[in-house]
Symmetry: C2
Subunit: 524 residues, 2 copies
């Protein structure tokens, strides 16, 4: 990374920002240090039960945060069976507890959220109808979204000097108009281009299943927060897997839609704008319930976002009736450069077997598609087109050092690779070839979806995730892709999938969930 004279007080600046952000947690919601002193990145503790055992949440608050998805909560609030102020209070409290366990937050907006929740309740009482399709629902936002009056430092110390946002991100405006309430913003990695949500302002987000493991990134704050049930629905971005990696690490679900459906404007970019890369960043929801993702997508797209953001496709939401015929799945197994760890191999095998047993078709796609590894290197060349290295300049501006995981977040094959315009033409031709081949196999082949791993392993130890070759293909193709939880690692059951000749990181045995990435051509 670039060398530059450090600014003497960057640590002070970061500390001051961090402390003022977290000072917004009410003192009543602070856990005893006897507990929090245990929650370090080396302990291997599972903290998922802390919200239930710490005694801070009432039975009703536990029920609100554990028993419903977002769709159900909106229904309950819209019909007056629950008050938004109670729902928002419950999630604020639980988010505060999550923060003290796994360090998943950046900006805390509890006061504004509770005020807005009261507005929602008053509106319902006065008007006899809900504010909108997200009436009173607390939603968490990755730090890169702008909320008027709140900072979006996205983990760069030099951005602390920037004033609070003067306007909302477009999608934030749409969600707010639909009745959503924003209670927290969540942590992410410095540069947003690594899978460890760690930066020099807010520190590192830990995996609530095992604090020694990564929560994933770049939307790792959401992954950890939702796993702790401090939020029921989060808003993330994704350019290489940023909304899917935290989901597969933390055992939640997420979807990366095709680009230009959810308005991207109005947020804070981690690098230079104007990239000629054909890979566009995408906004999508994360949570626990697939119908919640439909609620999110339908709400945003029904707001006609192309009127608000000139880069959104003016294409309405369309409902699709579930197929009554058996589905046709492609099954894409391991990439030889990143062989599957036993729990993932078992998850893939079990899922395929269950689907076949249920009458669905399963077509093996091994060796008929372009190499995932080569495709990922191609994608990363598109990510390296900025010769001015803007993220590094943002770091140099404060003197802060790069976070450790950045060292392993790129391909050794690309060390020293410098982009140039003429090669960019060739890269586009290569990408077109990859897309054409996938289209031939999947679309012309009549497949409804491809089932594949989201990663070769369950959540790895901090700073060891490496390059996301299983997720970035969805971005290179610009096809929708999602993560669905299908089970837990179990050493006994996984053993038969252990190819002894292969490397198997022991940390994985602590890991809890195996995930599959799900790709389908968009019909929405």
């Amino acid at each position: 990374m670039d060398s530059a004279p450090p600014i003497a007080d960057w640590q002070e600046l970061a500390k001051s920002k961090r402390e003022s952000a977290f000072a917004r947690i009410p003192t009543d919601w602070i856990l005893p240090t006897t507990l929090t002193s245990q929650y370090t990145e080396t302990t291997g503790l599972n903290v998922l039960d802390v919200p239930r055992t710490c005694g801070l949440l009432t039975e009703q608050e536990l029920a609100i945060t554990e028993d419903h998805d977002a769709t159900a909560l909106v229904e309950l609030m819209s019909t007056g069976k629950l008050k938004s102020v109670d729902v928002v209070t419950a999630f604020c409290k639980r988010a505060a507890i999550a923060q003290q366990c796994v360090n998943c937050l950046t900006e805390i907006m509890f006061d504004q959220a509770l005020a807005r929740a009261r507005e929602c309740d008053n509106y319902l009482e006065k008007e006899g109808k809900p504010l909108g399709p997200l009436h009173g629902l607390p939603i968490s936002l990755k730090d890169s979204f702008n909320v008027k009056g709140t900072q979006a430092t996205i983990g760069y110390v030099s951005f602390i000097a920037r004033p609070p946002a003067a306007t909302n991100s477009t999608v934030v405006d749409i969600l707010a108009n639909a009745g959503a309430v924003f209670h927290v913003k969540t942590n992410l990695p410095q540069t947003m281009m690594t899978a460890d949500s760690h930066n020099n302002i807010f520190g590192r987000t830990l995996n609530p299943h095992n604090l020694s493991l990564t929560s994933g990134g770049s939307t790792g704050g959401e992954g950890a927060l939702i796993a702790m049930r401090g939020s029921v629905l989060g808003v993330a971005t994704d350019i290489a897997g940023s909304n899917r990696i935290p989901a597969l690490c933390c055992g939640i679900s997420s979807i990366k839609p095709t680009a230009s459906r959810i308005p991207f404007s109005g947020g804070v970019p981690p690098g230079r704008i104007g990239s000629p890369s054909p890979i566009l960043p995408v906004i999508g929801p994360c949570g626990r319930s697939i119908r919640d993702f439909e609620l999110f997508m339908r709400t945003v797209i029904s707001a006609d976002p192309s009127n608000l953001d000139e880069n959104v496709l003016p294409v309405p939401w369309r409902s699709i009736n579930p197929s009554t015929k058996p589905l046709r799945f492609g099954l894409l197994r391991a990439c030889s450069q990143r062989p599957l760890h036993p729990p993932i191999a078992r998850a893939l095998h079990t899922t395929a077997t269950l689907l076949k047993t249920a009458g669905h078709h399963m077509t093996l796609l091994d060796n008929v598609l372009p190499s995932l590894y080569t495709s990922a290197i191609l994608a990363y060349k598109f990510f390296l087109l900025d010769s001015s290295h803007t993220p590094a300049s943002y770091m140099r501006a404060s003197g802060e050092p790069p976070i450790p995981s950045l060292a392993g977040a790129s391909f050794p094959e690309l060390d020293g690779w410098e982009p140039n315009l003429q090669e960019l033409w060739d890269l586009n031709v290569q990408r077109a070839g990859v897309l054409k081949k996938w289209h031939h196999v999947v679309v012309k082949g009549g497949l409804d979806a491809v089932i594949m791993p989201g990663y070769q392993a369950t959540a790895p130890r901090h700073d060891t995730y490496g390059v996301p070759i299983y997720t970035v293909i969805g971005n290179l193709l610009n096809w929708p892709a999602g993560i669905i939880s299908v089970g837990h690692a179990e050493e006994e059951k996984d053993r038969e999938f252990w190819n002894k000749g292969e490397d198997y990181e022991p940390a994985c045995k602590f890991c809890v969930l195996c995930m599959l990435s799900f790709s389908q051509r968009v019909k929405i």
Copy 2:
């Protein structure tokens, strides 16, 4: 242009190709040389009446080619009131006559067309239903589309060595499956990046209204052919105005849809593929009837082209009910660097006045949008990203010289400009700014469409068109845009719109049609 040792026989090669192509006109359809010897690019003759006066067409053939649009012809053929073989014969004969007047064709496919027409007739007779929504309809294609078994030299002498196409362009396949019959391919400029449809194989296409004027380009063969009624519906491409410039020069209509709706795959590109330019080439129809454009768009999009071409948006065709409320138009007048010639100024004024009288709203957009001239220079930078100058290498391969109009087809401001990757980021930021401003004024401003000139003048003399600043903005924005005929130049009436201080090319007084470019955000 690059210098290279000429290949001794490029002229022979071109002549041989040209003669073999035109030898496919049946001898019965050849005009006497007493006529054709007059049809030169310097005579100023109007040849629109030649098909009617030359005696080659029967009364029925004149009626078929003059009295109906494509929608009506399909209806008549689908119900057995006309035979496809008669319709196709009429258009083949008329296209042959047009060729001899204005040199608008490249590949002649009369035999194949008549055979296919008989198949259509037989199908209808046997099955009692039409083959598809374009049953039996003759359609003309720009030379850059591939038709199996036919060459697509696109005016490069070096491409004569290429074998005939082994497959159809995707859109050609779709149209064929819908029942269309292809009778001719049409002329275009060497490189496809100038407004004079002129190349060293097939020569120059002339404007049938006045042979001394350009037919426009790059789809000028279509413009001239359709003006001569040698085709009722043509298929064109457009990246800077290529489907609109011939329409405004020849007095027909056309539409450039948004990109990635009509499948672009399977054709012959005039330059390097893999461009990182955000301006994508677009396919659209040209003809005389707006409902024919709907027929074309609906037919292609209803064939679910995203299954056939991986770059097509998977968005179905949607019908829109005509608005019952007054429409809100923006009126964009002259760009100071290219002031309007009197007939265009009058056409714009008259149209705006008529629309206002009819109760529609008209908002003047002068000085609220980014400069068209500056925007066009930006667009042309995107067209200059290929430092390897592929079109020049295609020319060098045969030793053919560049056509004269290429000298005036670029901006003097860009002489010596060399693209580089880092500037490309800045260009994208500039484009984003232009799009944002247009979106703000037009979309957020609640306008339904913008009315503006398609060019500062009526069709100019050969090789003088220059840069297409009024059309390329539609490509830079990726908004749909079209050309609608609203009247003729009339010296007497135009005089009051003549600002004496401005340059007014006298050739224009011979010109016949003033066109308006029509932009509307796509809702299809």
